[in-house]
Amino acid sequence: MKKFALPLLALILTLTLFTACGGSGGGTIKIGLQGPMTGDYAYEGKGFENAVKMLVEQTNAAGGINGKKVELIVEDDAGDPTQSALVAQRLVDAKVIAVIGAYNSTATEPASAIYNEAGILHITPSSTAVRLTTKGYPRFFRVCFLDDRQGLFAAKFMQQVMGAKNIGILHDNSTYAQGLAEETKKYAEEMGLTIGFYDAINPDDQDFTPILTKIGAANLDAVFFTGYHSQAGLLLKQSKELGLNIKWVGGNAANNPVMVEIAGLGAARGMYVITEPLPKDLNYAEAKQFVADYKAKYGEEPASVWTIMAGEAFNVIRYAIEQTKSTDPKVLAEYLHNTMKNVNGLTGPILGWDEKGDRRGTIHVAYVIDDKGNFVLNSVQPTP
């Protein structure tokens, strides 16, 4: 009897291992989510988790994807690159086929290298740093849009909605604002707009009357300020005091009620602000359903656009698995690159991805400041 014991044990062990493998590989689809559940961005990380959990529950309640249940594994990277590499390795070891995350570009960067190595599909809902998609990772995608799309949208808005021919662009010499100003200038010139004024302010200044007097004399149809809200407020206030009728457009860094406070209601009224929409302002049936479900489940509307973007990332993965009937990350990535086009997403039509993995189109919208000083969606938007 004794001499059979070892082979028997081996047989039992092998059988157990096989069933274990078969159980996880065949029964469920494992999807990872990494984000900052603690730390400075914990609010955004919680939004990620809430959004994706809700959609996974809905999917499973409806029978899963192609009959298989989805198993979600959530990991906390605290927004930190070192922590991010650790949790990425953990998700790889858990044999996920796809990962949603991370929130900030700093955390997404090290994780994307690990997922690329492991051959996993990786979609970030919110990391906009340009260099992330320049590394030639074939299975890395974004559902958010690069900063340059804001410039493209701003140029279109000034041309199509404001009817501008001669525009001005003003930045504040910060990396972000200067980059946006340069992108906007590039797109505006391609569209045939004249850049009648292009300059920068010094954000430490309190008095902008010299540059405003110059802008006022340049007879521009619109002026795009790409800097931050405090300077935007001072610019609005001082241009009104100089009696100038400048048609101001602000970028998403001006999207802050403090700007209206600094400028005063009379000076801020009618200013346009180009920014990512609040989830409640997304005018698509899918978005409205998502916001309503979210509110019913968690008691409040999602306040951040990145929450709905995380949901978008999950829906993209689900849709790709449904369409390809495959859970092979390579097949899914090829589908996203080449075939998935013009699908209705949570954040508007998904036009597809370019060869680098950047989403085509844009999500930006134009708000206008109304008589009460609130930011309301402008009734006219440029064509996408």
Binding site: D199, A200, P210, K237, I262
Partner: protein, 301 residues
């Protein structure tokens, strides 16, 4: 016409620099010491004004221009007394300790005042309640415009500067100040109470600075805790430019700096404004090391 408008803009900024520069120049004239805390005393004028205005507007439920008067008196008093206190605590004990110690002590006071404002009021931008400052302005020919606030600011600045000039030139206390600034020891022998004169200087300089802080905050409507640094540095340069220790010099230096900066921003670019302004400053100092209206030190020796 744009040129005239830019000149008006420049003179407005220049009058702010001049008002703040007076505080640097008075202290230097009497003590031969640079009071680096002056910029932050000026900034406290803006914050105290904000508190006063907010309380008054809250009490009256609506902002109105008359509120500036009581708030101004309060601000000038509090900042002036703070100035005297700073001199007592941080400068007087160091008066015989050489040149370096009082400068470091002054920088220390500057950082303390700035951090206090940031910690008590928060780092965010502060805005004055609406309805306090009158808006509107005069349209001159050719699209040139002077705002009511610009006119008010210019008048207030010139009245304050003129009053100070007359005070120093025409009163006994002013004469004593001039005597101390020429030679403190001889003045003491002549029966001038030097400590009292220095206290008076630290009452008037910061008082004027507090008034300037209130005026600047009313004019721009919003500011943050770095206001003292931004204006303080420029005003200090204006004082040097005009000849530190010289009251009309501070006025001239402030106006000149404001106009040069404005023309550089308006006709070249705000990015080059400081480069141009400082080249002008260096050139003036190369030819007149004691500033435009500064005394010729060489003659004294």
């Amino acid at each position: 016409m744009q040129f005239i408008q830019q000149l008006i803009n420049g003179v407005t900024i220049g009058s702010f620099y001049a008002l703040v520069a007076l505080g640097y120049t008075m202290v230097y004239g009497v003590l031969k010491m640079i009071n680096f805390a002056h910029g932050d005393l000026f900034m406290w004028g803006a914050y105290l004004g904000l508190t006063g205005m907010t309380l008054l507007v809250g009490w009256a439920t609506q902002g109105s221009a008359w509120m500036i008067a009581p708030v101004a008196i309060l601000v000038i008093l509090v900042v002036a007394l703070t100035g005297v206190l700073v001199e007592r605590v941080a400068y007087r004990p160091l008066r015989s300790a050489g040149r370096l110690a009082p400068i470091i002590s002054a920088l220390g006071v500057a950082f303390i005042l700035e951090s206090l404002a940031r910690n008590l009021y928060g780092a965010k931008w502060q805005t004055y309640p609406s309805g306090v400052t009158p808006s509107g302005g005069l349209m001159l020919s050719g699209g040139v415009r002077i705002g009511i606030m610009q006119i008010a600011v210019l008048i207030a600045s010139f009245v304050l500067m003129g009053a100070l000039y007359l005070f120093v030139q025409r009163t006994r206390l002013g004469m004593a100040m001039r005597a101390v600034s020429l030679d403190a020891n001889v003045s003491r022998l002549m029966g001038v109470d030097v400590d009292r004169i220095i206290s008076v200087v630290f009452l008037i300089g910061p008082g004027l600075g507090g008034a300037a802080g209130l005026i600047v905050a009313l004019y721009y409507g919003s500011f943050d805790f770095t206001l003292g640094w931004t204006f303080g540095l420029k005003a200090f340069i204006a004082a040097i430019l005009g000849g530190i220790g010289n009251i009309p010099g501070a006025m001239l230096g402030g106006m000149l700096l404001g106009v040069v900066e404005t023309l550089a921003s308006g006709y070249i670019s705000p990015q080059w404004k400081d480069v141009i302004a400082y080249i002008v400053l260096i050139l003036i100092l190369l030819f007149r090391p004691t500033g435009l209206l500064g005394e010729r030190i060489a003659e004294k020796v």
